[in-house]
Each structure stands twice: as structure tokens, then as C-alpha cells.
């Protein structure tokens, strides 16, 4: 029988698989890398992101940590101080508050207070975001806490390709990073995509335009990007052409892509899942006001969560979180201003 030529495998991979591949490939690439977190070894992680790691890399490099977020972060700092690269998983990003001091006072400041002598390649990653009925303590987007603590990279990927490329970039960056994974996207088939087999990174600090438009700019990240895409489709029917920017990394922030878009659309709506007051949407609006005021034909607008916790049952949760409907409404006001 004639040999059948091997076809390139064009298997679509979901967001969770992309993350898992990033961890496995980085662990293979860097034998000085350690992963630790609650239930990440024998169980493979509460969501399965670390499945297979223990078997391949052993219990010295893949640590089932005690339920002690502060110790998980603090020991990661010590390991990194002594030459290791560490991925520290928070079972839910909400739990990161238990390790807060070790993150903002110990880890984030280390490079600064040692005048550059020490740098800490530590990526603290975990599932984040609402819309899943997770209630107050399994739904948060608390990224603003960390954007407000100088010394931390803050990353929020929205696609499988970015999830893998950004996680690899974060692990190689050499600075501590808080990496927000959107758990509603983990196994979402609609966003699964073919990602390269060969090694790649997505550089930190580069926004991407998800949809081009001419009348109004949406600036967003994480799950909100998809809400903006749906809103843009609705607006298209109403004759409004919206551009959608996914900033991907909050620190560092690619402001140029935002201003470039504004020079075309002159109108902006910033959308995120966090509460409005002192949130990152406010920071983006402030920077636009300072640096691109002349480009604006309308007041910059925000669509965010209400200034409330994230409640449990569906009607309550949807009431406080941004929706496509809310985004369309605010966008129309901004477009008509």
C-alpha cells in the first residue's frame, strides 16, 4: 500500500488546553521552573490546567501546596530569589487576597528595593471573572489592586492563542506577573482555535485590534472583549461602525494603539467587568483625557460592573455585570453626542 502523506493537524484547541500546553512546554524548556498551588499535582488543578504536570515533572517541581496562599506566594518569592522560575496557581483569583501582603509588599517591591539586584520570575495565575454563577468569591476581577501596586505585570488574555503566548512571555519576562485567566472561556468551544505547534510568545504590552471600525472605539480585555464584539455586531445593524481593541496586558499598557484608533473614531467606550470606582477602565479614560483630549468628539464612557460585589443567582448577577445591551446603549449615546 502506498504511504499516505501526513496531513498537518489542524486541531482546534480551547483556552484551557492552550494554557496547559504553555506550562508543559515551559517546564520542558526550563528545568529551573517550579509549579505550585493547591491541588495542582495529583488532582491536576481544580479546572485541570495543570493536568499531567506531576507525572511528567515529579513532585519536587510540581508541588501540591497547603491551603495557604500567602505561603504559596512567599515561598515562590524565595525560590525565585534563589534562581528558580515559579508558576504559583491561585485556585480562584478571588483567593489571591489571602496572599496580598506577600504580593504587594514582598514580591512587587523586591526589584525596586534592591536597586535591581534581585528580579523575580514569578507568575501568579488563576481563574477569574463572572457570568458563571460563582457568587461573591468565585467571580471577581480584582486586577486593579495589582495595577495599583508598582512592580507587577498584569495580564488578561482573551483567546487560546494569546493565553498560550502571553503565559509563555510572562514566564520568561523576569518580573512578577499576575495572570488572569477567564474561567468562562476555559472550555468554550466557540473560541477554540488552531494554534501553532512551534514555540511562540505574545509580547507583553501589545494591544490587538479584534475588529476594525470607523465610528467608535471599544477598549476592553478578557471576557468583555466578546461582549464588545457582540455589541459591535448589533451596532453595525444600526449603522454604527465600531472598532474593538483588546489591550491584553494592563501593565504594561499599549496606549498607542488606543490613540491611533481614536484618531480615526474620536469616540471611546471602555468596558470591563470590575467595579467602576478606581477600576482600570477609569485609568484608561484618564490617560485618554490627559494624552488624547484633542482627539475626542464625545466624553469617554465606561461600562463596568456596578460598584457592588458579584451576586450569586442569575438575574442579580446579570444586573450588576456589563451586558451587550448596556454596551450598545452607552455606545449609541456616545456615537450621537
Amino acid at each position: 500500500m502506498a504511504a499516505i502523506a501526513a496531513e498537518p493537524t489542524l486541531v482546534k484547541k480551547n483556552y484551557l488546553t492552550a494554557l496547559r500546553e504553555a506550562l508543559i512546554e515551559e517546564m520542558r524548556r526550563n528545568d529551573q521552573m517550579i509549579c505550585q498551588g493547591e491541588d495542582i499535582g495529583m488532582l491536576g488543578g481544580a479546572f485541570g490546567v495543570t493536568e499531567g504536570l506531576l507525572d511528567e515533572f515529579g513532585s519536587t517541581r510540581v508541588i501540591d501546596a497547603p491551603i495557604a496562599e500567602a505561603a504559596i506566594i512567599g515561598t515562590a518569592v524565595g525560590m525565585a530569589l534563589n534562581g528558580k522560575t515559579v508558576m504559583a496557581e491561585m485556585q480562584f483569583i478571588d483567593f489571591i487576597s489571602c496572599g496580598f501582603d506577600q504580593i504587594v509588599n514582598m514580591m512587587a517591591t523586591y526589584h525596586y528595593r534592591t536597586a535591581g539586584e534581585v528580579n523575580l520570575p514569578v507568575v501568579v495565575r488563576g481563574p477569574a471573572g463572572g457570568y458563571g454563577g460563582g457568587a461573591l468569591y468565585h467571580s471577581q476581577m480584582n486586577e486593579a489592586w495589582f495595577c495599583h501596586s508598582p512592580g507587577l505585570r498584569v495580564v488578561v488574555p482573551s483567546t487560546p492563542y494569546d493565553a498560550k503566548g502571553l503565559l509563555k512571555a510572562a514566564l520568561r519576562d523576569g518580573n512578577p506577573c499576575i495572570f488572569f485567566e477567564i474561567k468562562e472561556l476555559y472550555r468554550k468551544n466557540e473560541i477554540a482555535e488552531v494554534i501553532p505547534d512551534e514555540d511562540y510568545i505574545v509580547p507583553l504590552g501589545q494591544a490587538v485590534i479584534r475588529k476594525e471600525g470607523t465610528d467608535i472605539t471599544f477598549v476592553s480585555y478578557g471576557q468583555s472583549v466578546y461582549h464588545c464584539m457582540s455589541a459591535a455586531a448589533e451596532l453595525e445593524k444600526l449603522g454604527v461602525s465600531a472598532e474593538v481593541i483588546d489591550i491584553r496586558t494592563l501593565v504594561p499598557l499599549d496606549e498607542e494603539t488606543i490613540y491611533k484608533s481614536l484618531s480615526k473614531t474620536n469616540r471611546v467606550v471602555v468596558v470591563n467587568e470590575a467595579p467602576m470606582t478606581c477600576g482600570f477602565a477609569g485609568e484608561i479614560v484618564a490617560r485618554i483625557a490627559n494624552n488624547a483630549f484633542n482627539l475626542l468628539d464625545a466624553p469617554p464612557a465606561r461600562v463596568t460592573r456596578l460598584d457592588t460585589p458579584v451576586p450569586w443567582v442569575k438575574p442579580l448577577e446579570l444586573h450588576v455585570l456589563p451586558s451587550v445591551e448596556k454596551i450598545v446603549r452607552v455606545a449609541l449615546q456616545t456615537a450621537k453626542y
Partner: protein, 380 residues
């Protein structure tokens, strides 16, 4: 091979214990006359550092808060004396002399030793650019990766997990380093103390947690922060040894810490060594006057009576290492900063610190622009 237990195979083991040594087998009995005299000099040096900084501040040549280690020097000297150059330490605010005492045995001036020079430490105290941290954070918040000194923050007990991580990595590299973390008794009430000691115990990491129990956590007495008779009793909860040392007796501290270090280095895991002592003055020098009010005067009087320099002197006389006029040459004990003079200390100590202070006074301030530097490692 890693000594870290493999997942799922950790068998129950009875509580690890460190046997009490008989008098003759105490590690300190093996110290030579030269070792003992060096220890005595290090006590003088630590005391002189403290007294001299207070004098410098009164002269107006120094600003910032001082956290006195007066009366607690035996803990620093005794704990550090037997370490290897490859061992790590994490000192806190009341341990300023630890930075230059580390790895200083018979080599105070060796620039390659695994400890800081007196010049570096003084530059830090004076907030000058030659400080190891270029004066970016104050007082004891310095360290050195190459000299194996962990940089602390103001959040006490917060360095214990870092210390645990450091030796976890060292074990992975095949090293045999031990880490000594220094803590006040007050910080043992912190959640991170529990999390970190627990982690170290689970992984049998070579972490020796020194508790300097000076009876007062700022304005709160020990019994308001710790429910057990000894702080070392907390060790029972982790199945690790908890030792109690007389923090005024440098040789007792040495013995207990050496036992804990040996235990750690041989792979048996962490321990807690509580050193009982007394804070001679306020929490910081800003607190000296108020501390006279919140602490009963009899307690202060009693707490200062067992001066570590005097106790060391008695031991040395007893062992025949000091005698006659030599034994009474420098009487620094039980003297406050205003009472003590340079004549109360060996000239080698005074000259050493003079050099450090001279260096610090001549070192420039950092450029203002440095305030905005090193937030991130730049990868461009």
C-alpha cells in the same frame, strides 16, 4: 536526588526531637579560646554599634529611627557564629549588627566574606548611595543575594516563607544550606508565621526560626500575644523541635542554634529556637520615653540586670580564657549610651566602626532620579 518527600509516600513519623546535650558535649565546649575571645569581641562590637548610633543621633549627625539591639546581642552573635558561608539569614529591625556579623569570624575586613562590610551597613544607616540597597528602603531593609542575606519588609514574619523558598531551591540544587530567620515573639502571632513554618515542616526544609522573645511587641506584653508558657511551644503544632535558650548567654544560644542547625542540615527539618531576652529600651528610640511608662520600672530594672557582655565575661573567666587585669579592661556592661565611652570598648571595635561611619559620612546621597528607577527589570 532531592530529599523532598515524594507525593503520597510521606509516612507518619513521631515528633522529631533534639536531645539535650550533656554539659561536656555542648557545642560551645568545643570552641577554642580564640573562638571565645572572638565571640566576646563580637558582643562588644554589636553593643558599640548600638551605643555609637545613639550618640551620633544625639550629636545631630544621623536621622531616622533607631531600633536598639541593646541587651539582645548574644542572640545575634551566638546564632551566627557557627554558620557556614553558604548559609542564609533573614534579620529584622532589631538585628542590625547581624548584617556585618554574618560570616565575620576572624575576618571582619575580608571583602569576599558572606556578610556585609561595616562600610556598607553604615552607608545604609546614613541613607547613602553606597548602601547595598542604594538607600531605597530604610534601616534593616537591606540584603544581598550573593551574600545570602534575605531582604526584609516591615511586615514581620513575612520573610519566613521567603526563607523556606530559598532553601527549597537550594535543596533542589543539591546544596546543604540552612537558613536562620530572626523574628520577634510578637510576629509569631501572624498568620504568615503559621503558613510558613507549616510549609517548612511539611517539606522538612532546613529553616531555623529564631524567636527573640524580648517580652514586648512594641507596647504589648508577650502574654497578650501568645497563649503558651513558651513561644517555642508553638513548635508542637508542626511536629518539629522547639528549643528555649537563655538569650542573655551567648554560649547557650550558640548551643541551641547549633543543635537546630545540625538537625536542619541533616535533612530532619525545621525547628524553632526561642531566645528569652528583654528589650532594654523602647520599641524604637522614638518610643524610649513612653516605654518607661507602659512597662513597670521594676521589670525594666530586672530585665537589664543580666547583661550578655557580663555573662560572657564570667564564662570566659571560668574557662580560664580571661584573667587578671585583662578581664577587667573594658567594662561596657550595664551602661547606657550616655554612660558608656569609647574607653569601655576594645580599640579594635571602636576603630572598625569609625571606619564605617567615616565612609558613610563621605558617601553621597543617591541621585533623585533613582527614585523612579528599578520598578521593573527592563528586557528591551
Amino acid at each position: 536526588m532531592s530529599v523532598i518527600p515524594t507525593t503520597g509516600t510521606a509516612a507518619f513519623e513521631p515528633l522529631a526531637e533534639i536531645a539535650e546535650s550533656t554539659n561536656d558535649s555542648r557545642p560551645s565546649q568545643l570552641l577554642t579560646k580564640e573562638d571565645c575571645l572572638e565571640i566576646f569581641n563580637q558582643l562588644y562590637l554589636a553593643r558599640y554599634f548600638d551605643i555609637r548610633l545613639i550618640k551620633e543621633k544625639k550629636r545631630g549627625r544621623l536621622r531616622g529611627t533607631l531600633y536598639s539591639s541593646h541587651n539582645q546581642e548574644a542572640i545575634l552573635v551566638g546564632a551566627l557564629f557557627g554558620l557556614k558561608a553558604t548559609d542564609w539569614i533573614s534579620p529584622i529591625h532589631r538585628d542590625m549588627p547581624a548584617f556585618f556579623l554574618k560570616d565575620s569570624k576572624f575576618q571582619w575586613d575580608d571583602p569576599t566574606r558572606s556578610g556585609m562590610s561595616i562600610e556598607e551597613v553604615c552607608a545604609q544607616v546614613w541613607g547613602k548611595v553606597d548602601s547595598p540597597g542604594r538607600a531605597r528602603d530604610n534601616w534593616s531593609h537591606i540584603g544581598s543575594k550573593s551574600k545570602r542575606i534575605i531582604h526584609s519588609t516591615s511586615m514581620l514574619a513575612g520573610t519566613i516563607p521567603v526563607a523556606a523558598g530559598v532553601v527549597y531551591a537550594d535543596r533542589m540544587n543539591g546544596g546543604d544550606a540552612v537558613v536562620l530567620t530572626f523574628n520577634g515573639e510578637g510576629s509569631t502571632a501572624q498568620g504568615i508565621f503559621h503558613e510558613a513554618v507549616n510549609f517548612a515542616a511539611v517539606h522538612k526544609l532546613p529553616v531555623v526560626t529564631i524567636v527573640e522573645n524580648n517580652q514586648w511587641a512594641y507596647g504589648t506584653p508577650v502574654h497578650m500575644g501568645c497563649p503558651t508558657p513558651d513561644v517555642a511551644d508553638r513548635a508542637h503544632g508542626y511536629g518539629i523541635p522547639g528549643l528555649v535558650a537563655d538569650g542573655q548567654d551567648v554560649f547557650d544560644v550558640y548551643d541551641k542554634v547549633m543543635a537546630a542547625v545540625e538537625h536542619a542540615r541533616s535533612g530532619k527539618g525545621p525547628s524553632i529556637v526561642e531566645c528569652k531576652t528583654f528589650r532594654a529600651y523602647g520599641h524604637g528610640d522614638h518610643d524610649d520615653d513612653r516605654a518607661m511608662k507602659y512597662r513597670p520600672s521594676e521589670e525594666i530594672e530586672k530585665g537589664r540586670t543580666r547583661d550578655p557582655i557580663a555573662i560572657c565575661r564570667e564564662s570566659l573567666i571560668e574557662r580560664g580564657f580571661l584573667s587578671g587585669a585583662e578581664a577587667e579592661q573594658y567594662i561596657a556592661e550595664r551602661k547606657s549610651a550616655s554612660e558608656a565611652t569609647n574607653d569601655d570598648f576594645p580599640p579594635v571595635v571602636v576603630e572598625y566602626l569609625n571606619r564605617g561611619i567615616e565612609f558613610a559620612l563621605n558617601s553621597p546621597l543617591p541621585n533623585a532620579e533613582e527614585g523612579a528607577m528599578w520598578v521593573f527589570k527592563e528586557n528591551a
